[in-house]
Assembly symmetry: D2
Homo-oligomer: 450 residues x 4
């Protein structure tokens, strides 16, 4: 009778390489397998070309070596949603385990897309068969005689997000990274409150929640709030602007839909520009998650990007551009426009809308500072923070906790401060630190008392 | 041929005692007359009992001594809107000038209400006749053979806000403190873009804009965004709460209406609690600006406050309370509830919604820290920052500037950093610092080149 | 064979009510018993008059209830040094345990002084015999057949600081709250590196280190640096000042000595003003720790304070005042001077030197903001941050860790972020989190694996 | 009778391209000609290869176009000291003016060294004769029938700093960028208080002070404080370290001397490594300003750097390295060591001392964050902030102001916030804003009332 949790990544560092493995007796299930963009930037690695060893050395991907002696026990891996800090290292690590991988269709398609881009992968691992299975939210899958996976519908800032639940002989284990409670998303499905409450009554052994925003004393605002912001801002910008450029998260399909719909209402055609903008949009369109208005264009290859922008530059008032680069990432479309490297000339009659917020790492801040300085010198109008978060605030967490009533809690996906803040929050809700709720760090293993 | 501006208050300090006087040849018009809450707190003054001399000594009210030699020239005073940092010192200072005072009805009623509260005033000044006149947004008033006042409809976070314009033989002088561009307010009127553009064509000599949020690269979000936030939050809170308390600015009538309407939809009766909550609500109701749902209650006297809360405490699920204390002000209702000084007992099943944001002065931060510590110890659910600002962001400012095209600009209502930031912004828009746009400070006088 | 640690206070909150109890089989030793000044301020308690129950309710003193079932096991209590966050609650809590209390002479005298001030104490507890024993740094005391206490000389910002070591059958337990490594203090003794290294070789089972400044990548500067700062500043101030006032920590005897010596060299007499300034100085003088220059005065009672300041005000250039109030505490001397409540009139020819730094709580920041505003309005010259910390930086911690090589570590005296930062630091030094080093929180108990 | 000041650079932006021109009737004198490192980083320019036009476009060097119509009036240029933000653009701009350039010997040698590095310069300007003259602190030079320059000895963080004074028929103009009052520097000379007071009595028309640290309520600590810090830190590091690396400002010759002397006392040889470390050290040695201990080495060329580090790596305990890279600048020695690009392998037994502080631009913070992350992963000991500033604090400024008693003040070398803060400070000292003290910005011109 053993339940052990391997904290492989994301414990003690925010925004990084999330990975957790749960051992139930002689079987192991892996949850997520993400990458740290911060480390990629610090060590200036080309992710796709770099080897697993190189990336592990700089902490850009999880260190799964604690699983080494247990490799044969791994029976399944689950990907909760398609953000890079949750799936980015799948192509580097997960294929080493001869296990089935589960995720919703959007998540699975994103991993497949990554695998295709993985240059080294093709030669090295040609003979390896990746077994990935797309599940529907609400599905249950028996993965062994004792273990069953369930995928509870939840809301987040990317389509196809679920809360994976591992049903074990000792109770349910709920992996709640990442989520927020939003009843007003237009895309997809609502959080399944009914099922969460049922689950609480059935008995939850362990909850593994994200902790990024547990210090924020609020319920994270609904995407409905972001919709109002987008409409209000674009309508205002439209009045006095020639060109309008919006930059947002390529994976935030609902946001892109809102922006595109608003553009249509304002009489502008939509142009998506940038490599990742194209990647996510195509997959979303194929799955019926994104419906760009008629006349929309997507340019995601170096040559087409230039061609598209050339055209948009000549017909500024006809287009609303949705581009990559909201964090000022070098190489993305907006920074390159700001550097005059692309054929779209910004003037004081153009508007740039950031439907995003700056991720608070020093590297992002520096990139944004550079981008800002350049844009301001061109006199463009800027609209920042037209955005709401996709991560649970303290009151989202409280609701989840009260519905599930888990016996034990292991806060994840946060730096030391955030993990501790979750623990303190849980202690307010009656949990005892170090007895019911455990603050742990990467590379450690926690044994759940049974 | 002289146009001189006396920067009497609010130049070099944010959130304070705004007061500006404009001299046109031999006539002077005063704009606003506010008080500094920060100084009241630092020096622990009882505002109503304190003398003008005492308050001036601690910089809590404007120092109008530069106007002393010119007292007889003052022909009119204008109050742009009813916030305390714009009208709070009217009862202490303005009555010394034998001039007519203009404001919209809500503003005028607020000043009258302050005058009644002014204990010392009654004895000292019984024989003084205050001549206050309520104007309608859009009105024009000839105040002398050469000068005419116009009141342009604009949006802000209190009803009855206008942009006063002083028409002079040398061009128009526009006093734009405070404002935002919001096309989606439900209460009152829209900004009069058409008139602003006309005015720009007629010729604006001088613009005196607020500068509090000119560094924010955005258009300030519409109140429509706040409405979504309020609905989303209250609906969420309703699910799992017994008591619900909302705290917000007493003067923000539209917000109070939104909260009250939402309460009604959720099946709760509304109870307004607190001295200033009562004061503003009564005036707003009389003027038809606020329509509380049937069954609503207002308690604003010490004894009724206690009685009301006693009742609400017994019927927690029936009521939604709207109370004072969003900045943790000692003596306001919410801090007193947190201190167990009032008969409403908070538990972990109650929710407190802050439809406000903390004003970033060290004193407010300390008050909020104390309040927070106490509320957290009681285990209540908290929802912070359910709010949007009422002050112009950089893009609101840009739009105003481009519509008005003033010859000269004198940034007001901001600390040194904000005034300078406005100047830098204006220089991006083609103005020349120290030639067309002047950074000035309290106690100084600026002569406008004609 | 049991070693258990009760984390009673200071685990998860910085600057507070430090208290730790260590159980070794059937005996318990208590380390420190401090109070939280922050909580006293938030809840506006009069510490001396408040009951233990009231203070515990607001978290102002440690909650020792986990020790209730074990009261008879407590064989000794140790006070590591005389700061209030380490001894402040001794008078409220420790006397309930019928145990001997050990500390160096300065520490013991401070507790005795507190006991005298404890009004309620006298009536309630007249018959209780407090057994306090003053030890010398370097002493060892056998406290039971199995347990021995040792007091290793160390440096900190108050005289008489030691690292208490509990020698047990299972190895030594070192309580390292608070300390820094400073070889250049003039007062007292040097850190006993030799003994620390020996101890490391003998075998340390557990280290309980403070963690306040473990994130600071430095060795905390020596008091020799502060000496240079004090001399440089006072010499500069002397040139152009009439009055000179220095404010610093009353307990920082070495700093007061430095200031007084510098005053003497500059030809000024020294006047210590303020209640706690008097209390600490008298005890320090009695123990031979402080030697004020001839002609110095100490005023610490309301009437003498006024008299002293009256005199100093008439002979400004003859005196250098050392006063309380460096955190802007209401009621302390400097804030009262700033409020014109005391007969010392500040002008633009006076200098105020803060030989201290602002403790970063919102309440302190607000107090300092008020004090600053008032002082600035008087035009005085101000010299802030003439100070170095007394707490270990990261490199002090590293040195201690490498010398002691403990088997286990339990970081203390820090908020969640600091405790976690210590754990991360220790993991760099080869410790394993949750296995060798434990992040724990108030109210919890940690069992040390033997 | 005209005195006009052209604010060409450094007005409204900290840490940048300082340049001021003063017109006295028909003659102009230029003060300083610096570059903005921030802009070089943002726009990724190779400074030496870039043209004046390119650099001006990105605001990396001053825009001297307002001087265009007055070129023939320029009779002299003065360089106050050798920091890049004061002399860095001399090679790009000053040679266009056919004027004599004055500076102390260290400053002049640095400019000459820059000119040699200026690749483009050689071809383009071969025939241009730069007339640079080295003056002694205390010297006076008659530059025209009406104008005389004086160079008052002052202290700062680089040798050869002076306060240039332009004596005009209308009074003296004092350019006080940059300075601090330090009576305990070992290198060079003391501030000439006597002369400053005399000057105040003779009559100062205008003071142009730096304003970077005017908000710091202090006298900037003496270099004597830094000496204690360096000694304390290095002695501590020596105890337990194999390798010791110190990084500091290459131009801070006194600091380098202190570090080198301390190394000698600790029995380590000194090795200076890095291009700019070599450049400054050589010039300083030639001028007798730096005396490295016997056995010291300087490596400043790519091949010798590698060779030197290779040797130091084999004899770690014999050397103390002083290297470039204290801001994490890519390409400097320390970041390259951290990247394993140079043959010096860091381990947990090595110490790195930052005798510097991070310049608070987002770009520097990001560079330092990367460097920190890398160094921490290697487990090295780090000692940050072993440093005091070279810039005047508020009390240094007050002393200068009271000695000089200028009629007018034009704060320079600061962002808008700092310039405004100086103005507010001056208003406390009795100056009137916009009348006696002018907040101005780059590109503007201020006429001094005579």
């Amino acid at each position: 009778m053993t339940v052990e949790v391997f904290a492989l990544g994301g414990y003690g560092e925010a925004g990084g390489r999330n990975m957790t493995a749960v051992r139930v007796d002689e079987e192991i299930v892996i949850f997520d397998c993400g990458m740290s963009l911060d480390k990629i930037l610090i060590f200036e690695k080309d992710f796709q070309k770099a080897t697993t060893r190189e990336l592990r050395k700089v902490n850009a991907i999880p260190d799964d070596s604690p699983l080494k002696p247990h490799r044969s026990k791994v029976v399944a891996a689950v990907l909760s949603h398609g953000h890079l800090d949750h799936i980015g290292a799948a192509s580097k690590i997960l294929f080493r385990y001869q296990c089935n991988i589960f995720g919703t269709d959007f998540t699975v398609e994103l991993v497949k897309s990554d695998l295709k881009g993985e240059e080294r992968y093709r030669s090295e691992t040609e003979d390896i068969k990746i077994s990935m299975y797309a599940v529907e939210p609400g599905d249950e899958v028996q993965i062994s005689s004792k273990l069953r996976l369930e995928f509870i519908p939840i809301s987040h800032s990317i389509p196809g997000t679920v809360l994976p639940v591992l049903h074990t002989p000792y109770g349910a284990i709920v992996y709640a990274c990442d989520f927020k409670f939003d009843d007003h998303q237009l895309l997809g499905y609502k959080p399944d409150y009914k099922r969460l409450k049922e689950l609480g009554k059935e008995g939850v052994l362990l909850l593994i929640p994200e902790s990024l925003r547990v210090k924020e004393e609020m319920k994270t605002p609904s995407e409905a709030v972001a919709r109002e912001m987008v409409k209000d801002t674009l309508q205002f910008a439209e009045e006095e602007s020639e060109g309008i450029i919006v930059t947002t998260f390529s994976s935030h399909i609902e946001r892109i839909q809102t922006i595109a719909d608003t553009a249509e209402r304002l009489g502008r055609n939509v142009m998506l520009v940038g490599r990742s903008m194209g990647k996510y949009a195509r997959i979303a369109e194929e799955l019926g998650l994104l419906n760009l208005p008629p006349g929309s264009r997507v340019y995601d290859k170096p040559e087409t990007v230039a061609r598209g922008l050339h055209r948009a530059n000549k017909e500024k008032e006809d287009w609303l551009l949705i581009v990559t680069g909201h964090q000022g990432e070098p190489g993305a479309v907006l920074p390159r426009i700001a550097d005059d490297e692309l054929p779209y000339k910004l003037t004081e009659n153009d508007s740039i809308v950031f439907s995003s917020s700056t991720i608070p790492s020093p590297l992002n801040k520096a990139q944004m500072y550079s981008l800002d300085t350049k844009l301001r010198m061109k006199g463009v109008k800027m609209f920042k923070d037209v955005h709401v978060s996709g991560h649970a605030g303290r009151e989202d967490h409280r609701l989840l906790l009260r519905m599930l009533q888990p016996e034990y809690i292991l806060p994840a996906h946060g730096d030391a401060d955030m993990l501790s803040a979750y623990a303190e929050f849980a202690s307010q809700e009656g949990y005892e630190i170090n007895k019911d709720v455990f603050v742990t760090f990467e590379g450690t293993k926690v044994t759940i008392p049974l």
